[in-house]
């Protein structure tokens, strides 16, 4: 059974993270942006798991749990926000929600 080099895991995490980031940057639909954030969080969690595995410690997994918690909270609040934005502005276009312009 061949072992996995740690960098491979990290490279996967990097690639997933970058894909999420690209999506976040190119999407205007705010729901898509939320999805992208989920991808990125997931990638970050992957990196922690790889690190935990690298040192054979449970800490990486604990961190993943925290990320998970945070992601859950974030999604719930984020979705509520999306609903509000849609309700107020009748659009899911994040560019149009630009009333905070300085």
């Amino acid at each position: 059974m061949t072992t996995i080099p740690a960098e491979y895991g990290l490279v996967l995490a990097t690639v997933l993270f970058m894909l999420g980031l690209i999506s976040l940057l190119i999407r205007r639909n705010i729901v898509f942006m939320l999805i992208s954030v989920e991808i990125m969080l997931n990638a970050a969690g992957l990196a922690f798991i790889v690190a935990g595995s690298r040192w054979s410690q449970a800490d990486g997994q604990v961190m993943f749990l925290f990320i998970l918690t945070m992601a859950a909270a974030e999604v719930s609040v984020g979705l509520a926000l999306i609903l509000q934005i849609y309700h107020q502005l009748k659009t899911v276009n994040s560019d149009e929600a630009s009333k905070m312009k300085g």
Partner: protein
């Protein structure tokens, strides 16, 4: 092991690419589930079966379902797919992609400078995680609890359907 990891990784990447290129939200979400499952597979291979299970249950399960509910509540019609097509053109994609690639290149470069270490693939079970979680990281757990509480309250507060209210400053501006 390695091959399973490769396959899982390939599936995860392809699924994710498909997520970000989809115009239809629901399709994208389906690919997202695939991506999460692939990553869960990777977790399993990396020796974290407990986390793999959680990934499937919470990410692929709970979160995605929540999203689908919201999409249903948004009640987006066919026009939104067309609009998504219009927004996702090459001109807008090129800049972020270049930036991200630069970032990625830097990250990968930094990874490549490290000496290669092979993972043992030793399984760290739920028990070990639990010991660590409620021992060393108990403060973090409590904070997470507060965070979730705040998330629930916030989501409830924000999610309430109110009549259209604009802030008084904005109101003044609109006049």
């Amino acid at each position: 092991m390695l091959i399973i990891f490769y396959i899982a990784a390939a599936v995860a990447v392809i699924a994710t690419v498909l997520v970000i290129t989809q115009h239809n939200l629901v399709h994208a979400l389906l690919y997202l589930v695939v991506s999460f499952l692939a990553v869960a597979m990777a977790f399993y291979v990396l020796g974290a079966p407990f986390i793999a299970a959680l990934e499937v249950i919470i990410y692929a399960g709970a979160i995605v379902v929540l999203m689908i509910f919201v999409i249903m509540m948004l009640n987006l019609r066919q026009e939104s797919v067309a609009q998504e097509k219009k927004w996702l053109n090459a001109r807008i994609v090129i800049g972020p992609v270049i930036l991200t690639l630069v970032l990625a290149a830097e990250l990968l470069y930094m990874l490549s400078t490290e000496t290669s270490v092979h993972l043992t693939g030793e399984v760290i079970g739920a028990k070990a995680v639990g010991m660590s979680l409620y021992g060393h990281y108990v403060i973090g757990v409590e904070l997470s609890g507060i965070l979730l509480m705040a998330g629930i309250v916030g989501a409830y507060h924000l999610g309430r359907q109110k009549k259209k209210v604009t802030h008084r400053f904005l109101e003044k501006q609109e006049e």
